[in-house]
Symmetry: C2
Subunit: 214 residues, 2 copies
């Protein structure tokens, strides 16, 4: 199909499609003339994914490119492939390499609090998963605001996260194609995040109503 | 204390403190001369909260002002007070009023999917809680990307959110002062969000390692 048809099918304006092509988010079509190219179903699907990552999930173009590159590398080993996807930080940037850690860690010579938490839980997680820093920073911030909180306070939340991850991974059993598996992992990891926080907000209101309501 | 001391104590630059004063995020100090004012512990604490909301949680100045206003209104009824806090959307804006709903809702005349989910769960949640729209938009987006997902797919996640909210509310039992309760609700609701998502990412990697690792 021509770019105008691709725009109609995907709901993405032609100018935006050209921008994604220039930025390398969308692979080029098959050239049919000097200024014309043919696009296919793959482009429609990928455009929808780009729109979801940027428009819905709010990622920057470069963060979206990292996610798309991870999906496109076509790793055959499921754990490495999911590691690429899961190892992405909340903003979609690749995880920090060991040695690039920030100041909070150097101030805790006995290891980060996230490390203590993971050891207690028995979770096998690579050193460079950026979510470790999010845990350390959150605890540090809460304490700086006078809330008495340490890694042990997070243990009951971590037990629930464990159950959440089982639900997540169960949904990745079905697709046998690794690319499809990775795409589904990206979709469910990124796009469910706002919904999971929304469920917590709704549950808080319901629980507050039960406890304190008239 | 003078503004320079306030800056030293809070770790916030003087120019930034003046900006927060102009924007009404920080209440003015007690004027001691035409161009001088005295600040107290209340300002130190509030500055830390502002820095957490804007610097850590990434809220805009106007979103942070909404949160701070909610905390300052000094409601005595705990449920109304928590409603103000919990009713804030993920970006800290107040919830949409009925009638301001967006197009997804009008396209589902039988009521939103969030409403079906809440009815099934038996959760008592006000109509204008903006988290409802987040649920509807997420489901709509996942389906537009070819993921077969409806409100029933979210039920197991909602059961876990219920348990999370119980943990959350348990931590608000202790403070008897309603202002302190609300401040703690803001801190734990907003600041734990990245940590809860980080726990999910870590648990996903651990679960992936268990299932697919070498």
């Amino acid at each position: 199909m021509r770019i105008s048809e691709l725009s109609r099918r995907s709901g993405v304006p032609t100018a935006t499609i050209k921008y994604y092509l220039r930025e390398g988010l969308l692979p080029p079509g098959r050239a049919t003339a000097a200024t014309q190219a043919e696009y296919d179903e793959h482009h429609v699907r990928r455009l929808r994914l780009i729109r979801a990552l940027i428009g819905v999930r709010g990622l920057s173009v470069s963060a979206a490119r990292n996610v798309l590159d991870a999906v496109s590398e076509g790793q055959t080993d499921t754990h490495s492939l999911l590691g690429l996807v899961f190892g992405l930080s909340p903003t979609g940037e690749p995880g920090e390499k060991p040695g690039e850690s920030d100041e909070e860690d150097s101030s805790s010579p006995g290891g980060s609090e996230a490390a203590s938490l993971l050891a207690e839980l028995g979770w096998d997680v690579t050193e460079h998963n950026p979510a470790r820093h999010v845990i350390d920073r959150t605890l540090w911030t809460l304490r700086s605001l006078g809330v008495d909180y340490d890694w042990q306070s997070l243990l009951p939340y971590a037990r629930l996260a464990e159950k959440t991850a089982v639900l997540d991974l169960d949904q990745l059993q079905a697709p046998s194609d690794p690319l499809e598996k990775a795409e589904r992992a990206v979709l469910l990891t990124f796009l469910l995040e706002p919904a999971l926080l929304a469920l917590r907000r709704l549950a808080q209101e319901a629980e507050s109503h039960t406890r304190f309501g008239a």
